[in-house]
Amino acid sequence: MTKLVYFAWVRERIGKPEEDVSLPADVVTVADLLDWLKGRGEEYAHALRHAEVIRVAINHEHVDHHEKIAGAGEIALFPPMTGG
């Protein structure tokens, strides 16, 4: 199982702050994960429509969409940050 966590409007659109998922073997990269999630329902498709703007962190570190997710304990999906 992999823990997915969502923030800001990604969280609001998906409708939950986190979930544990079993990822298929062909979900290798972050981009694969985003594609796979989009097929899980309307709410996911809505949240991840513009997948290119979604920021991703694996185990609390920013990663690019081509990063491999093998070994990820926690994967976070969120919009561009607006702190500071």
Binding site: F7, W9, A57, A76, F78, P80
Partner: protein, 158 residues
């Protein structure tokens, strides 16, 4: 305190409570042979009266880790005697503090640049998101990220 051999260890705090600029300056002033302390306070604007409050969401764990990574990079890049970053979360009203960065050094250039750098990177890399609560009661939205913040961070790439 900054030894001559290594970079200073930054202080990073993620908290709901307000911070005390004077107390943070006071702590840095006594960090060693300090000639300059630069502070940046980020404050919730009132957007000409349209804003009731900002709700700051953050990613616990990663927020502190990411700011610490940025602060360590600053401490390696400039000769600092002390470096502090405090970021608040939760509901923040116009006029209230959101973020504090404070840098102490022997000379002013390092203190200015380190504080400036830390703010630029914090804006584009620290996992915080602002949602607006509007003064007229209408549904407020998530604040959009600014391209200028990405550009600001890009200034520092060597």
């Amino acid at each position: 305190m900054a030894g001559p051999v290594g970079a200073v260890v930054p202080v990073v705090r993620i908290q709901a409570a307000d911070f005390d600029v004077a107390a943070e300056v006071e702590r840095l002033r006594n960090a060693g042979d300090v000639g300059a302390v630069v502070t940046f306070s980020g404050i919730c604007r009132d957007e000409e009266g349209t804003l009731a409050a900002l709700e700051l969401e953050h990613y616990p764990g990663m927020a502190e880790a990411e700011i610490l990574r940025i602060a360590r990079e600053a401490a390696e890049r400039w000769p600092l005697a002390g470096l502090t970053a405090i970021h608040r979360y939760g509901k923040i009203k116009p006029g209230e503090n959101i973020v504090l960065v404070a840098a102490a050094s022997k000379h002013r250039r390092a203190a200015f640049e380190a504080a400036d750098f830390l703010m630029d990177y914090l804006k584009s890399r620290a996992p915080f998101w602002k949602k607006e609560h509007r003064a007229d009661g209408a549904e407020g939205g998530w604040v959009d990220a600014k391209e200028t913040d990405e550009d600001a961070a890009a200034r520092w790439r060597k």
